[in-house]
């Protein structure tokens, strides 16, 4: 594997993301604070206003801890670089990439990954502080961050495969939005997934989305055993393998349909 262009793409992606510092800061703050504030609002309404003692067996303190720790991982899971892919197909700019000796799917991912890695590093620093105050294991936070980063890969792989629907239709924006909305709800960044009643758990158990935020948070908080964590880790790796083949299939199909006239 030739690392030269990958390293340059990573640096380029970081420079591009931070060129407009105010935007970058807003994005970080927004992606952290908004899901957290929704959770806090629910806990306030249920416990402080409603007077509940426990919800699904969890106390107010349990849910607050979940909220603070999940913020570390909501930062890492995101990235909208799959939208860039659909835009390349839609506008016909993909042609420029086809002439270059690099894979467009990998190139776009690496460029988009750069700011996420930076945010992951920041989150780990914050996580170390949180671990100290909440008496959590720092090793578990590092391991959980690894799972969150694998989640980032899966998230992109699914997005990159879905983006190929732009080869067939005019664009894939709506399809990617649907995916993002499902991720918001089923990754555990809006509410802990153990609040789902038994009849609704199928909604998240059969997707990889819970590996992005809920899984890492549960492990960091010590609510998942090591065995559960390794099970999740293996599942994440299997999803990545599946994602690899999904991309290979969908892109080889899509390129055959590509007319280079704007998709």
């Amino acid at each position: 594997m030739h690392l030269g262009w990958r390293w340059e793409a990573l640096k380029n992606g970081f420079r591009d993301a931070t060129a407009y510092r105010v935007e970058f800061l807003f994005e970080i703050l927004g992606s952290a604070l908004v899901p957290a504030s929704i959770q806090l609002v629910f806990w306030y309404a249920l416990f402080k206003v409603g007077g509940s003692q426990t919800i699904a067996g969890l106390t107010h303190a349990d849910l607050l801890t979940y909220t603070w720790v999940s913020m570390l991982f909501t930062q890492v899971r995101g990235g909208d670089h799959d939208f860039e892919l659909q835009e390349l197909i839609r506008t016909g700019q993909l042609s420029q990439y086809l002439l270059r000796p690099v894979g467009v799917v990998e190139f776009t991912y690496i460029r988009g990954l750069a700011p996420r890695l930076f945010i992951a590093a920041l989150s780990l620093s914050a996580g170390s502080l949180i671990a100290f105050f909440l008496k959590l294991s720092i090793y578990k936070i590092f391991a959980a961050m690894t799972l969150a980063l694998l989640g980032n890969v899966i998230h992109y792989q699914i997005g990159a495969s879905l983006a190929t629907s732009a080869f067939l239709w005019e664009e894939a924006y709506s399809v990617l939005m649907i995916k993002n909305m499902a991720v918001n709800f089923l990754s555990g960044e809006l509410i802990p997934l153990n609040l789902f009643p038994e009849s609704m758990t199928w909604m998240w158990k059969y997707t990889p989305f819970y590996l992005y935020v809920y899984g890492p948070t549960q492990y960091a908080l010590g609510r998942w055993s090591d065995a559960e964590f390794f099970h999740a880790l293996i599942l994440a790796l299997l999803w990545i393998v599946l994602g690899f083949f999904m991309i290979r299939l969908s892109w080889s199909w899509g390129i055959k349909k590509y007319l280079s006239l704007g998709g």
Partner: protein, 261 residues
């Protein structure tokens, strides 16, 4: 006035023709909107599976609120949403030039050029949800449905004024992306009834950033009614936003430097 109505009619026709050409895209956007509605309903279903009340709101009342909110938001999406996304390009890329030369208010043209007719289905969904939960939520129904038109107007006007107040800064900041994202982050506060929020946030979304006027206050008004003071407060806040936006637009135009802006 007739000139504006005629322009609006032509814009509507052009948009319908344009969107009818891209049927698949039209269809997928319909599905995306429907899924958003399903997710919001599912989120509250999960919460209500664990409790009977959230800040005094029962599940039917929250669903009624969601119906009103979806309708109000969908009406805004049909007529204004795309134009707000395009607004920063108008300024950044100098496309505003051509609008400034037309014999009609350039802001009217900028805000009505593109329409997203795909959101019509969301209006139907929203109204269906609201009417389905109307009785169980305690809404009196009958002639009280006539108030819905007024409250939807309040909701759409609020969304328009608020979104524009986030867009207009592009005259000063060059790129509008950060403010757009910030708007949608705050917009999340509109998706829940205002009485769920702690006092400080509630005060904010009822005054300086009145996101509660989009769906929450209209739903509360339809369910329980509002006092005269509350009605006057809503009008005062919206008038304040209108005047602020008008001033910023005029100042922005003075600063506008065409394509090099």
């Amino acid at each position: 006035m007739f000139q504006y109505l005629e322009t609006f009619r032509v814009q509507l026709k052009n948009n319908f023709v344009r969107q009818a050409v891209y049927r698949t895209n039209f269809l997928t956007s319909l599905i995306a909107d429907s899924i958003w509605i399903c997710i919001e309903l599912a989120l509250f279903s999960v919460i209500y599976a664990n409790t009977s009340f959230i800040s005094g709101w029962t599940k039917p009342q929250v669903c009624f609120f969601l119906g009103i909110f979806f309708t109000s938001d969908a009406l805004y999406a049909i007529f204004f949403q795309t134009n707000m996304w395009n607004f920063s390009n108008l300024v950044n890329q100098g496309e505003l030039d051509i609008l400034l030369t037309k014999p009609i208010n350039p802001l009217f043209l900028a805000l009505t050029r593109s329409m997203n007719l795909g959101s019509i289905l969301n209006v139907i969904f929203g109204l269906t949800i609201a009417s389905h939960y109307a009785t169980s939520s305690g809404f009196q129904g009958g002639l009280h449905w006539l108030k819905l038109g007024y409250w939807l107007t309040v909701g759409v006007s609020t969304a328009l004024l608020l979104r524009f107040s986030f867009c207009i800064w592009v005259f000063w900041t060059e790129r509008g992306g950060a403010f757009s994202r910030l708007y949608y982050q705050f917009f999340t506060f509109a998706t829940k009834p205002d009485s769920l929020y702690p006092k400080m946030i509630r005060y904010t979304i009822l005054s300086v950033l009145p996101f509660a006027f989009i769906g929450s206050v209209p739903a509360r008004a339809l369910l329980h009614g509002l006092s005269l003071e509350e009605h006057l407060h809503i009008l005062a806040v919206l008038l304040g936003f209108y005047l602020l936006n008008r001033t910023l637009w005029r100042q922005g135009l003075k600063r506008y430097q065409s394509a090099s802006s």
